[in-house]
C-alpha cells in the first residue's frame, strides 16, 4: 500500500461556507447553498446556482485590495481559500518562499472580461485585459500570498483541481518539489451560464444526483486548496490526511458527453486503486462526480459497477449542496473528503428520491457516522478528462 502524500492544510470557500468551519456546519445540517444569481445580471433568473453570496466589492475590501487592481472573482475566491490553507498548515514566510502553487480554473478572468469588454474599446478598465489569462489569475493568487515557488496553471475543465492535486503529488513523489499548494478556483459568469444552457443540461430545480428523475445540473462557484508536503519536511505539523492514490484517463468518446460504459471513469478509478495499492473492497466511500445530468450519473454509475461489482461501497454526490463548481470541484471534494475522514462521517446526497431504473443504486441520503479509512473521489471534465483520487487517514 502506498503511504501517500501528506496534507497539512486546507482551505475552502463555496456557496455553503466561507471556510472549513462554515462548510462543515452546512454539510452536517443538510443546508444547501443554492439560490438565484445576484452578482451579475442575467436573463436566467430561474436557474438555481451555488453562488457565493459575497460581492466582488466585499471580497476586495476584506482582502484590503484596491478595486482598480485587476483582481478578478476567480483570483479573489482563490486567495481566500489558499490563505485559509496556508494558515491551517501554519506555513511561515520562509516556507512559502519555496512552496509551489498549482491551480486549476476554467473561467480565468472571464467575469471581468464580460463586464468590461465594451469599456476596453474606450480605453477604460484596460488593466483587466491581461487578467483574462488563466495563468495571470494563478499568479495574482500566488503574488498576494507571497507563494514564491514553481507556479503552474491547469485547464482541463471540471477535472482541473483534481489534476492539480495529482500533479502536486507527482512532483513531491519524484522529488521535484517538497511543498506545494494545489487545488482550483472558478466563478459564475454569463459566459458559462449561457453556454451550459445551450447544452440543455441545466436544471431549473435543485439538482438531484443519481435520481431517476434528475433533470440536469446547477452551476456553482468556489475555490479550495490543499497544502501537500513531503514527509521529511513536515516536522511537527498535524497531518490532516493523505492522498493515497490517483488516476487519470481519457474517455475518448465525445467532446462533452461520457461514454455509456463509462470507460474513462472506469480506467481512472482502476488506476487510482492501483497507485494506492488498494483493492476495490477497501474503499469505504465514493465521493462521486454526480453532476445530476442524465448522462454523467448513468455513465458514472456504470463505471462504478464495473469496478466494484457487487461490493458497491456507500456513495454520494455533494453537488446538491454547492452546485457544480467546475474547475474547483475536485478541490472542494478533496476538502470535504478530509473533513469526512477527520470526523468519521459521510455527507448525504441531497434531493434524492428514486433510484435510477438502470442501476437501482441508493446513495447515502442522511449524514451518518461511518468507519472511514479510504475515500475514492471522482472528477470528470469535458474533453473526456477523467480523474480519480483516493484519500486516507494519516497512519503511523
Amino acid at each position: 500500500m502506498n503511504k501517500g502524500i501528506a496534507v497539512t492544510g486546507m482551505g475552502i470557500i463555496s456557496s455553503i461556507g466561507r471556510n472549513q468551519e462554515e462548510t462543515y456546519k452546512a454539510l452536517i445540517s443538510g443546508k444547501n447553498g443554492l439560490s438565484f444569481i445576484e452578482n451579475f445580471t442575467t436573463k436566467h433568473t430561474e436557474l438555481p446556482a451555488g453562488e457565493v453570496k459575497i460581492t466582488n466589492k466585499e471580497l476586495l475590501a476584506s482582502l484590503k485590495i484596491n478595486p482598480t487592481q485587476p483582481y478578478t472573482r476567480v483570483s479573489l475566491l482563490g486567495i481566500i481559500a489558499a490563505k485559509e490553507a496556508i494558515t491551517n498548515a501554519q506555513l511561515s514566510k520562509e516556507e512559502l518562499s519555496n512552496c509551489g502553487f498549482i491551480s486549476g480554473t476554467s473561467v480565468g478572468g472571464m467575469d471581468a472580461t464580460e463586464k468590461y469588454y465594451s469599456d476596453f474599446e474606450n480605453g477604460v478598465n484596460t488593466q483587466f485585459i491581461k487578467a483574462q489569462h488563466p495563468g495571470f489569475t494563478t499568479n495574482q493568487i500566488a503574488n498576494y500570498l507571497d507563494i514564491k515557488g514553481k507556479i503552474a496553471t491547469i485547464s482541463t475543465a471540471c477535472s482541473s483541481a483534481a489534476n492539480a492535486i495529482m500533479l502536486g503529488c507527482r512532483m513531491i513523489e519524484s522529488g521535484k518539489l517538497k511543498r506545494v499548494i494545489v487545488g482550483g478556483s472558478d466563478a459564475l459568469t454569463k459566459f458559462t451560464l449561457n453556454g451550459f444552457n445551450s447544452l440543455m443540461i441545466l436544471s431549473n430545480q435543485p439538482c438531484k444526483p443519481f435520481d431517476d428523475d434528475r433533470k440536469g445540473l446547477n452551476l456553482g462557484e468556489g475555490a479550495a486548496y490543499l497544502v501537500l508536503e513531503a514527509d521529511d519536511i513536515i516536522g511537527n505539523k498535524k497531518v490532516l490526511g493523505r492522498v493515497k492514490g490517483y488516476g487519470n484517463a481519457n474517455d475518448s468518446f465525445h467532446q462533452t458527453a461520457s461514454s455509456p460504459e463509462g470507460e474513462g471513469a472506469y480506467l481512472a478509478m482502476k488506476k487510482a486503486l492501483k497507485s494506492a495499492g488498494l483493492d476495490h473492497d477497501q474503499i469505504d466511500y465514493i465521493h462521486a462526480h454526480g453532476t445530476a445530468t442524465r448522462n454523467n450519473d448513468l455513465s458514472e454509475s456504470t463505471a462504478i459497477h464495473r469496478v466494484f461489482g457487487n461490493k458497491l461501497p456507500e456513495f454520494s454526490s455533494t453537488k446538491g449542496y454547492t452546485g457544480h463548481t467546475l474547475a474547483a470541484a475536485g478541490g472542494i471534494q478533496a476538502v470535504m473528503n478530509l473533513l469526512m475522514l477527520e470526523n468519521q462521517e459521510v455527507f448525504p446526497n441531497l434531493n434524492f428520491e428514486h433510484s435510477m431504473k438502470e442501476t437501482g443504486f441508493y446513495p447515502v441520503i442522511i449524514k451518518k457516522q461511518k468507519n472511514l479509512n479510504y475515500i475514492l473521489s471522482n472528477s470528470f471534465g469535458f474533453g473526456g478528462n477523467c480523474t480519480s483520487l483516493i484519500f486516507g487517514k494519516d497512519e503511523d
Binding site: 488563466p134 491547469i154 485547464s155 482541463t156 454569463k190 459566459f191 445551450s198 487519470n248 481519457n250 469535458f382
Partner: protein, 202 residues
C-alpha cells in the same frame, strides 16, 4: 530513474507552413489571414478522411493535423499520454461564444471554449485512453513539460507521450508537438525540446 526516452518525431505548424522533423512538409500560398482555408488545404494535403474535422474549432483542427503527421498512419498505443500547453487557452473560440451571449448561443461553439477539448478530439480519433493534461503558461516552458512527461514515462503511467505547445490567437497559430517514445535517436531532454522549439525554419 536513469531510463532514456527519445524524441521520435516533431511537428511544427506556423505561418502557413508545416514542418516534420525540421523539413518542410507543406506550405500554403494563401494569405496569412485565410486560416480556415489553410486548414482545409492541409487536410486535403494529408489526405485525411474525417468529416468531423470540419465541425471542430481551430485549436482542435490544429491538433488533429499535427498528430496526423506525428502518428504517421501507425496505430498508437492506447496508453499514449497527451501533455499540452499554451498561452491563450481557448480564446479564439471564447470570443466567438462571447459575441453571441446576448442572442442565441451555439452549443457547438461552446463545447470548444476549453483548451483541453483538443486532447479529447485527438483521443477520440486515435482511440487513446491515456492520461492528458493541459497547462497554461506565458511561453513554452520546456522544463515543466519535460519534467511532467518524464514522470509519466518513468513511472510507467504512459507508454508514449505527445507533448508540446499549441497556441492560437487572432488567426496566428504556433504548434510544436513531439512524440516521445522509448526508442529512437534524439535523447529526450528539456534542452533538446527547447532547441527544437526555437529552431528557426525561415
Amino acid at each position: 530513474m536513469g531510463k532514456l526516452f527519445y524524441i521520435d518525431n516533431v511537428v511544427r505548424i506556423k505561418n502557413r507552413s508545416i514542418y516534420n522533423n525540421q523539413e518542410l512538409l507543406f506550405r500554403s500560398e494563401l494569405d496569412i489571414a485565410e486560416i480556415d482555408l489553410f486548414f482545409k488545404e492541409a487536410y486535403q494535403f494529408l489526405q485525411l478522411s474525417y468529416p468531423k474535422f470540419f465541425k471542430m474549432d481551430r485549436m482542435s483542427k490544429l491538433g488533429i493535423l499535427a498528430t496526423e503527421i506525428l502518428f504517421n498512419k501507425e496505430k498508437q498505443d492506447i496508453n499514449t499520454a497527451l501533455v499540452f500547453s499554451n498561452n491563450y487557452s481557448s480564446i479564439d473560440t471564447d470570443k466567438i461564444h462571447q459575441n453571441s451571449i446576448d442572442q442565441i448561443v451555439s452549443p457547438s461553439v461552446f463545447v470548444y471554449t476549453l483548451p483541453n477539448i483538443v486532447l479529447g478530439e485527438i483521443s477520440i480519433k486515435h482511440q487513446l485512453q491515456g492520461e492528458n493534461v493541459f497547462f497554461i503558461s506565458e511561453g513554452f516552458d520546456a522544463q515543466m513539460i519535460a519534467d511532467y512527461t518524464d514522470v509519466l514515462l518513468s513511472t510507467g503511467k504512459a507508454e508514449n507521450v505527445v507533448c508540446g505547445w499549441i497556441d492560437l490567437k487572432n488567426a496566428e497559430y504556433d504548434v510544436f508537438l513531439c512524440l516521445i517514445t522509448r526508442k529512437g535517436e534524439m535523447r529526450f531532454t528539456h534542452k533538446n525540446l527547447e532547441q527544437l522549439y526555437y529552431f528557426d525554419n525561415e
